[in-house]
């Protein structure tokens, strides 16, 4: 199987290299053909692997491809661990990536208009874009297929690099190149914790290999580290690793980069900043479940961070007017749901939501992109309205995506979100009550902002200018086909996979169980024990508070932004004015950006200048180095006066000296 796995990883890389280096020569057609062929091959093989895990008896693969290096007895290898958890991720990543590749043909078709006249960067930008998204697919596959911490970190940073390149793709835009640097640096703050976590693993396990570390972990259950007055080793490792996840999966307070990342072209917002890369943190924690299960402190920490992100980021979504930013805040909120699930030890539910979210959120982003194309790159939802008449496919698919997002019964998001809320409700860890409450309120908020956007964009009377309205039409098939292909799983996926993922623990292959849950953390047990099929689950869900909250949010959104808005288009502004200080706080995004900008960015520059001018210049150079040079020179100036060349000066000096010496001896 090694060759199959290598092909899955390397085919997109090869496509990226060809499109990137020879883009000018092979032209646009060549570039998108070669990258789509590469990713298409990857997708086909990944689906095949998944199918053989489902219907066949494919064994778990855990082998090194080559030895990166050996130092001090630790082998650093590059290798693959492909079990069912990996296979699921591979299929999700490659499928969404393939859809985004197809979609990009349409979205980037007239990209030359996005560049200033004469800029050479605009010349092959189309080919370069394809090269980057294929490179991203390679990096993400390296991340999810890794069998060791070193390669995990490679993939982790490599996806960060591609994200940097793609957010700043339109490199002449100041906002874009600010956003990409911000994204990279904030992610680096997370990676700072991540690498220390890896170093802790290296120190106590003397290995980078997952299987070896997991096998040795129980022996370290009681190990204490003399830090912060004594902390358990597992808590230290897990919290450090999770700080990495907070960066990549944009959890409060490291979430600040994700909304800004919307400066990049929409296809990558769908692929990287919604469906795949940002879920790497969730995947990582699920993969490390044997470690995380050993630290309740870390799990509580995760619960609280995740739930805080889930509700408070959703609230910001209510006051956003940029179509992409609404979806971005929704992504932050949904990532919070997944992370909270991890904190409740419901790793399977977190992975389940990751998967359903990947499809419906990619769908929502691509639908938003479709709207943006039709609107000639205007993104303000206040200037849209009535688009359903002009773009029926985009409209229906966006509606499906929104229903899946709010957890409308039987849509995919319904299953995964209900499973998470139920699991968190059963958690007994510190912070689980808080998490449970926030997630439940979050359901209402989600429905409200989702359908605010939906009604403002697709219903009511058109509010765009006459020129734009005149040119409104459905986007080409390369755009709508991916929408349809993503809409299908957004409806049916939850129904299909809830039973294997949550009930029968499909993840386990033989005696290899990637998702380990300690007995008293098993928050999904009620769901399993009372499982009577999907229908029963749906019907039961429809008697629970989250259902009523979601429907309430949907109804309220319809009343306000559909019915009332038709009569009083100022209702949105009036509501925001009514919010008063609350609206201000939300519009300021709780002040995170201002704080970071002033304290961290400004503070670092101030500190740097102080150290440079005060330390290097004033003390070291002027004080010591040039200072001593000057002092030598000054001393020489003075000493020069002693050597006047007059004999009587010397004679007097001699006599004074002689007298002085004599006195000295006599007195002694």
């Amino acid at each position: 199987m090694e060759n199959v796995y290598l092909t899955i990883v390397l085919a997109p890389l090869l496509g990226a290299i060809i499109a990137g280096f020879f883009g000018g020569r092979i032209g646009r057609r060549g570039a998108h053909s070669v990258t789509i062929a590469g990713v298409g091959l990857s997708t086909a093989l990944s689906l095949l692997v998944l199918a053989r895990f489902i219907w066949g008896d494919l064994p778990v693969y855990n082998e090194a491809v080559y030895t990166w290096m050996v130092s001090d007895g630790i082998r650093f290898e590059v290798g693959f661990l492909v079990d069912r958890l990996t296979a699921l991720m591979m299929a999700t990543v490659t499928f969404v990536s393939l859809m985004v590749h197809l979609y990009t043909i349409g979205y980037m078709a007239d990209d030359e208009h996005n560049w200033p006249h004469g800029a050479l960067t605009g010349k092959n930008s189309y080919q370069r874009f394809f090269s980057y998204i294929s490179l991203f697919t390679f990096s993400m596959l390296m991340l999810v297929m890794s069998n060791n911490f070193m390669q995990l970190f490679f993939g982790w940073e490599a996806v960060g690099l591609v994200s940097y390149l793609l957010i700043g793709f339109w490199s002449t835009r100041e906002t874009a190149i600010f956003a990409n640097m911000k994204a990279f640096l904030v992610n680096r703050v997370g990676d700072f914790g991540f690498i220390l976590g890896i170093a802790a693993v290296g120190m106590y396990f003397n290995s980078m290999d997952y299987a070896e570390v997991f096998a040795a972990a129980p022996a370290h259950a009681e190990t204490q580290v003399a830090l912060f007055g004594g902390v358990s080793l597992m808590t230290l490792i897990c919290i450090l690793l999770f700080i990495g996840a907070m960066g990549k999966s944009a959890q409060v307070p490291l979430h600040v980069w994700l909304p800004d990342s919307m400066e990049g072209p929409t296809p990558i917002s769908a692929l990287i900043h919604a469906a795949t890369m940002v879920t790497a943190g969730v995947f990582m924690v699920a993969r490390m479940s044997p470690l995380f299960e050993m630290s309740e402190t870390a799990l509580s920490f995760i619960l609280i961070i995740g739930a805080t992100t889930a509700l408070f980021m959703g609230l910001i979504g209510l006051v956003q007017n940029d179509i992409k930013r609404v979806v971005a805040y929704s992504t932050l909120s949904q990532l919070g749901y997944m992370v909270t699930a991890l904190g409740a030890s419901a790793y399977a539910a977190g992975m389940f939501h990751l998967m359903t979210h990947a499809f419906f959120k990619a769908l929502l982003f691509l639908a938003a992109g479709s709207v943006i194309i039709a609107m000639h790159h205007k993104q303000d939802i206040r200037e849209m309205g009535g688009l359903r008449r002009y773009m029926p496919i985009t409209w229906i698919t966006a509606l499906i995506g929104s229903l899946a997002l709010i957890g409308f019964p039987a849509f995919s998001g319904f299953f995964s979100k209900d499973a998470i809320i139920e699991a968190v409700g059963h958690s007994t860890l510190y912070g689980s009550g808080y998490a449970s409450l926030l997630l439940t309120i979050g359901v209402f908020v989600t429905a409200l902002y989702s359908f605010r956007m939906y009604f403002l964009v697709f219903h009511g009377t058109p509010r765009m200018d006459e020129h734009t309205r005149h040119h409104l039409h459905e986007t080409p098939w390369v755009v709508t086909v991916p929408l349809v292909l993503l809409a299908i799983p957004s409806v049916v996926l939850g129904w299909l996979v809830i039973e294997p993922l949550l009930v029968t623990n499909w993840f386990a292959t033989g005696d290899w169980n990637p998702i380990v849950v300690a007995h008293d953390h098993d928050t999904l047990h009620t769901l399993r024990e009372h499982w009577h099929g999907q229908w029963a689950f749906v019907l039961h869900g429809m008697t629970m508070p989250p259902f009523f909250l979601a429907m309430g949010g949907l109804a309220l959104a319809a009343v306000v932004w559909w019915f009332t808005f038709a009569k009083n288009p100022k209702i949105d502004d009036q509501l925001q004015a009514m919010g008063g200080p609350v609206t201000k706080v939300l519009q300021a995004k709780y002040g995170f950006d201002d704080f970071n900008q002033k304290v961290f960015a400004g503070g670092s520059r101030m500190l740097g200048r102080a150290l440079w001018l005060g330390g290097d210049r004033a003390i070291i150079d002027d004080g010591v180095v040039n200072g001593s040079a000057h002092r030598v020179a000054a001393l020489a100036q003075r000493a020069r006066h002693l050597q006047t060349g007059y004999l009587y000066h010397y004679a007097i000096a001699m006599i004074v000296g002689l007298v002085g010496l004599l006195t000295f001896f006599v007195v002694l």
């Binding site: 990166w68 001090d72 004469g118 960067t121 970190f153 002449t172 220390l196 170093a199 003397n206 330390g615």
Partner: protein, 526 residues
């Protein structure tokens, strides 16, 4: 192969080449350049024999050449390499080629002298890395200053006199004390052989004094805080080639010195003063990281970035003493030293490439100020791609060589102390911040002014230069194993050596390091 004086050839071939180039003069300029390039490539090709003929299984010196030089004082012409010096020699011969190519069309004033200076410099630096006799080492060490002094003083910028004097005095100041220490040890060992010095039994006071003398010499070269301020000045005034050699190789001589002299000769003093070196290294990472952030001159920024990265080298070396003294920690010492070594090699590629990149811009616009640029990628897309690549390598992105050393040193430092590793790991944020902020202001954005609008992208010569270095950065990042393998035996040898107490029997009670079995028997120590 062992009979053949390969090291002598690698040292003297470029020096002879330099003389030939000088003799060829500037009347027909291209001839001298081609001769210089020929000698540089030939030297590199020959030096590869050191790699292919190297036996990675043994930690002892190889390719040894030994002949009396000044018999009265027991001074010898004594050369040899191990897994620590051999990669550095190849780095030297490799980088010199690019320096020659980089100066091809840019240097118009006496190009033959310029090329000759670099060739002579190359031979002398190889001499420093391969000398096993202390006096021979010292001669090469000091001789190295002369070509560099000339390179900065003749082809340098407007403030070159201040920079050369500062550079010369700083380094000379450090090395005088080293000479005293070497002579002292000669009287102890009755030999100038560095390997004999390694076996000397020295009291604690003598060790401390010798250690401090070496520290002054090596710390200036590395350079370590607070004796680093000559480096930004020297870089700013040096021509591109001078900066490349300075950053890529000369700084490594300081790091090499710690491994060849300080640590094995005075392990007990090193162990008791390791805290100082570690503290200075961490200051280099954090303090210099902040200083680099606010630089307005690209060369100064990269110079400060070099200091921060070299902090990782000295950190990796000196945490060894904490690790081997802690019985609860199994392993990590070898990783620290190897990490520091890889960091040196990698920094040679990356900083060299970054200085070449600045040179590319300087040749066109004649400014190093960040504020004079903006949106360069619009007119120079290939150049922009290279800069982003090397910037990412400078920020330690996995897959590039910049990651390998940093990763290993952080992993090893964690075994020594959590908070040291914590401070060291801040480089993930700081290095990314100062590098990418520069990239943002210089490369990205809208075309800032008419000069940027008129820029021409890389020519073939520049593309070749940067392309080969990029390949080196990538190969070392994707597969560092071959480099690690040649180092293992020598580094393990070194770690075993520095782990043994060197104090005489009378002071054996003060040993914090392991007491060697032979001594333990004599003194009755357990």
């Amino acid at each position: 192969m062992y009979e053949f004086p390969l090291l002598t050839l690698v040292i003297w071939l470029p020096i002879i080449g330099g003389i030939v180039v000088l003799a060829s003069g500037d009347r027909a300029t291209d001839i001298s350049k081609w001769i210089a390039l020929g000698f540089a490539i030939l030297t590199f090709a020959i030096s590869l024999g050191l790699w292919t003929g190297f036996d990675a299984g043994i930690g002892q010196m190889q390719f040894v050449e030994r002949a009396p030089w000044i018999p009265t004082f027991n001074v010898e012409y004594y050369l040899g390499v191990d897994g620590i010096s051999m990669p550095l020699i190849i780095l030297t011969t490799f980088i010199t080629i690019f320096v020659i190519i980089a100066g091809w069309e840019v240097i118009t004033y006496k190009p033959s002298h310029y090329m000759a200076a670099f060739l002579i410099m190359e031979g002398v630096m190889v001499g420093v890395f391969s000398a096993l006799d202390a006096i021979l080492f010292y001669v090469f060490w000091e001789a190295m200053l002369i070509p560099m002094f000339i390179i900065i003083g003749v082809w340098g910028g407007p403030n070159r006199v201040y920079a050369t004097i500062k550079f010369f005095l700083y380094t000379f100041f450090g090395s005088v004390f080293m000479l005293v220490a070497l002579i002292y040890m000669y009287f102890q060992a009755d030999s100038f052989s560095i390997l004999d010095f390694h076996d000397l039994e020295l009291g604690m006071t003598a060790q401390i004094l010798i250690f401090v003398a070496f520290l002054l010499a090596f710390a200036v070269k590395v350079p370590m805080f607070p004796v680093h301020t000559w480096l930004p000045d020297a870089h700013v005034e040096a021509p591109t080639g001078g900066s490349v050699i300075l950053a890529a190789i000369m700084l490594k001589i300081g790091g090499y010195g710690f491994l060849r002299f300080s640590m094995p000769i005075t392990p007990d003093a090193s162990a008791s003063l390791a805290w100082l070196i570690i503290a200075l290294s961490l200051i280099a990472v954090v303090y210099i990281g902040f200083v680099a952030l606010v630089q307005q001159d690209m060369k100064k920024l990269i110079a400060y970035s070099s200091i921060a990265h070299m902090g990782f080298v000295t950190l990796g070396f000196f945490i060894v003493f904490t690790i081997i003294r802690n019985p609860e920690v199994a392993g990590g010492a070898v990783m620290g030293i190897e990490g520091g070594m890889v960091q040196m090699i990698s920094h040679g590629f990356i900083s060299g490439a970054l200085f070449l990149c600045v040179g590319v811009l300087y040749d066109r616009v004649h400014s190093r100020e960040i504020a004079d640029y903006g949106g360069v990628i619009n007119t120079m897309p290939w150049f922009g791609a290279f800069v982003v690549f090397f910037a990412m390598a400078n920020a330690g992105l996995p897959g590039t060589s910049g990651f390998v050393g940093e990763f290993m040193v952080i992993l090893a430092t964690f075994r020594a102390d959590f908070w040291w590793a914590f401070l060291a790991a801040t480089t993930l944020i700081l290095a990314a911040a100062f590098t990418l902020w520069m990239v943002k202001r210089v490369i990205f954005g809208e075309v800032k002014n008419a000069k940027v609008a008129g820029l021409q992208d890389l020519d073939r010569r520049e593309t070749l230069n940067l392309g080969v270095l990029a390949a080196a950065v990538l190969v070392l990042g994707i597969w560092p194993a071959p480099l690690m393998e040649v180092m293992h035996a020598s580094v393990e040898n070194l770690v075993a050596h520095v782990g043994e107490c060197k104090l005489p029997a009378s002071e054996a009670a003060d040993c914090v390091l392991a007491v060697p079995a032979s001594v333990a028997g004599l003194t009755g120590q357990p």
